[in-house]
């Protein structure tokens, strides 16, 4: 599904990713953990196509195709979804209108007609129920005045609507209360299939109690420095990152 080879990236001359390697296959769940400032969000943004970064080296392949020249919307059309660590507000644009536009633009890119209103409504109803989102919420302006948790839940609602091939969830758990965490995690699990893949970026084990990863990676100083199974997350929770940093020297 996703293959990243020796990825180097910098911003304003500051080197952030320094030879990152990662392979994610369909049907897998990967967790990326790592200290603040390690480059996790940078990695997610670069995969999604954010243009602020200077990518000096490396390969990004999605389903065997090099996507590094594609615009962010083209990557989205190819099934890449990023749940933002800090979702932005778009005043005056309702959640419904936004997601409707996103779906229809994606369909347009594939040469399809707009989704019939009836199907759209049905889908919205289905997915909002899955994530226990109040219908009134959907007519509010996108992210405007949303609480931290509401923003995150709304990101996953959009993911549910768009049904991506590769979903990257950047600290989707932060800001969620205990119940919301369970609801959102269950939602993600329901959307999982053998044909798609999920990368969760998180600091805490509690999310991984629900979304059980096949692999856990530690990203430190722009590189994946350790990879293990679900038990690695538990170990990190118990011991922190220092022991890994020491292993490196």
């Amino acid at each position: 599904m996703l293959k990243i080879n020796n990825l180097h990236a910098s911003i304003d001359e500051k080197s952030i990713l320094k030879g990152l390697n990662l392979q994610v296959n369909a049907g897998e769940v990967h967790a990326i953990m790592g200290p603040n400032g390690a480059g996790k969000s940078t990695f997610a943004n670069i995969v999604a196509g954010k243009e602020d970064y200077e990518v000096s080296n490396g390969i990004i392949e999605l389903n065997g195709e090099d996507i590094s020249e594609l615009a962010p919307e083209e990557r989205a059309h190819n099934g890449v979804f990023l749940s933002f660590q800090y979702p932005v507000e778009i005043p005056g644009v309702s959640v419904t209108n936004f997601i409707k536009t996103a779906i229809n633009e994606t369909r347009k890119a594939k040469g399809l007609e707009d989704m019939p209103a009836k199907d759209m409504l049905k889908k919205i109803r289905e997915k909002s129920e899955l994530l226990e989102i109040d219908r009134k919420f959907l007519s509010r302006s996108l992210n405007e005045g949303f609480s931290g948790g509401e923003k995150k839940r709304n990101e996953i609602f959009q993911m549910a609507m768009l049904e991506p091939k590769l979903a990257i969830l950047d600290e989707t758990d932060s800001g969620l209360d205990i119940d919301a965490l369970r609801i959102v995690a269950n939602g993600v699990n329901k959307l999982k299939s053998k044909d798609n893949a999920v990368i969760v970026i998180t600091h805490y084990q509690r999310l991984l109690d629900y979304i059980v990863p096949d692999f856990v990676h530690v990203l430190h100083d722009g590189k994946i420095v350790k990879t293990g199974d679900a038990s690695l997350a538990l170990e990190l929770e118990a011991k922190g990152y220092d022991w890994i940093k020491k292993e490196l020297v």
Binding site: G49, A71, F98, S141
Partner: protein, 482 residues
């Protein structure tokens, strides 16, 4: 990675021709250029006007002659040479129409290009269309339905013939001939426009709509609109404009007068899309409009406007809240791109007790344009408990455009409550990336963000206009990345 640069933007804007930039070759009769008393008399004669009308025009002309063009607005443009303008132009073949089949095929073609074929309009739910084509109305529909309710909706030139007492009684009562330079000019030479009268207690069953166009190069157009809503009546009036692309600047100085008698309500909506000039700021319409409404007791007037066109816009739809408990509203979206300049806003004059006004202004500037809001809220000494709420929001795209806000508040009564809010924002890179990430390209994302920004005003437009207005916003901002 494909980065959207300023150059791309420029390229895109360059190749984007004005959608409605065509010119229909309809034979027309045009007066020689220049203005003097004889020309005014000739216009009046051409229209077969009664003596009082001719005198009214002449008086306006004499006032205008002594006036100078105002220069307080935040706009710069070459002052038109008023002796270089032809003041009358009418299609030569002036058809008497019983059905659409009799309409000049060229004209129908023009309507088709504009996407406003009468055929289509006729079918469109409940919209009566009075099309002003180069100063003279050539088609009026739905007249009968309106007639049954006693509603008069016709070209003002016809109303002068058929209902002279009504026109004489109200014309110039809200905007006096001497009001300002452009209003005086309009009063002297107005070519045509619409007249509308809603009798007592009648709710007009359909949106009344007029499409104005300018079609003859170098012909200034001076419409005159008069809407009178008698006691307890209601009318929603739509005005939409678009003009062919021309090299010369086209002067447009309209006057619109609204009169809402006791308990009456007038909604006046405008979607304005005149040629804004090309990417070098060449050509485009100069739009100097005087729009004013008078509210008697318990009456209400709402102005809603979406302004995307014109090279230079100078326009302040206003309300005189004369009657107690009367209400004035102004909802505006003004978009400027390229070298466009807009100085627009409103005046709310509170005279009566418990009068209320609301002003919502959304300015969107792109390219090298200048967009100014200028608003006056005046509370007179007898206006006990007057209230005003004003909100002026500006959205900027790029770093070379300008947004300006000039709010004036004059209060002579201590009981007044006035609130003013203003914001300025830019479309953020992070907003665009967020949209892109969801599969929405930058152009569409801008349209979405702009529509969201303008929503409070778009919501005030009648349905069929709102759709058109949204399309217009998209067209006028294509490629404008911040």
């Amino acid at each position: 990675m494909s980065k959207y640069t300023e150059e791309d933007l420029e390229q895109e804007l360059k190749t984007k021709e004005y959608e409605y930039g065509f010119y229909t070759d309809i034979e027309s009769e045009t007066f020689a250029k220049g203005l003097n008393e004889d020309v005014v008399r000739a216009i009046s004669k051409k229209k077969n006007e009664p003596e009082w009308m001719t005198e009214w025009r002449l008086e306006a002309y004499r006032v205008w002659e002594k006036m100078t063009e105002p220069d307080w607005a935040n706009v710069k443009y070459p002052k038109p040479d008023f002796q270089e303008i032809a003041y009358y132009s009418a299609p030569k073949k002036k058809p008497k129409l019983n059905s659409l089949d009799e309409v000049d095929p060229d004209l129908l073609e023009t309507f088709k290009k504009l996407g406003i074929s009468i055929d289509e309009q006729k079918k469109l739910a409940n919209v009566a269309v009075d099309i002003v084509m180069d100063s003279v109305s050539v088609a009026t529909t739905f007249k009968k339905t309106l007639g049954e309710k006693g509603i008069i909706f016709m070209p003002i030139s016809e109303a002068i013939q058929e209902y002279p007492e009504l026109v004489k009684k109200y014309l110039g009562t809200v905007v006096p001939t001497s009001d300002n330079f452009y209003a005086a000019l309009n009063s002297a030479v107005f070519s045509d426009g619409s007249f509308c009268y809603i009798p007592k207690g009648v709710k007009c069953p359909m949106e009344l709509s007029t499409y104005f166009r300018i079609n003859e190069g170098g012909t200034g157009q001076f419409e005159r609109t008069l809407v009178v809503a008698d006691k307890g009546s209601y009318v929603s009036y739509l005005e939409g404009c678009t003009a062919p692309q021309r090299d010369e600047n086209q002067l447009h100085a309209a006057v619109v007068e609204l009169i809402a008698m006791d308990d009456a309500e007038i909604k006046y909506s405008t979607v304005q899309n005149w040629f804004p000039g090309d990417e070098n700021g060449k050509g485009g319409v100069f739009n100097f409009v005087t729009k004013r409404g008078l509210c008697e007791t318990n009456a209400k007037i709402s102005w809603t406007q979406v302004e995307t066109g014109s090279a230079v816009t100078w326009k302040y739809p206003s309300c005189i809240l004369k009657g107690n408990n009367s209400v004035g509203e102004f909802y505006s979206i003004a978009v400027t791109n390229h070298f466009q300049q807009a100085d627009t806003g409103t005046k709310m004059i509170h005279l009566g007790k418990n009068t209320k006004s609301t002003i919502i202004s959304k300015g969107i500037s792109a390219g090298q344009s200048q967009n100014s809001y200028r608003g006056l809220v005046q509370i007179n000494s007898r206006a006990e408990n007057a209230r005003n709420f004003s909100q002026c929001d500006s959205l900027l795209m790029g770093n070379v455009c300008g947004a300006h806000t000039f709010p004036y508040i004059e209060t002579k009564n201590k009981s007044a409550q006035i609130e003013h809010e203003a914001t300025t924002s830019k479309i953020g890179e992070d907003q665009l990336f967020y949209c892109n990430q969801r599969g929405i390209d930058t152009e569409k994302a801008i349209a979405l963000i702009v529509n969201g920004f303008s929503k409070e005003v778009l919501n005030k437009l009648p349905m069929e206009f709102a759709v058109e207005a949204q399309k217009l916003l998209e067209i006028s901002l294509e490629g404008s990345v911040g």
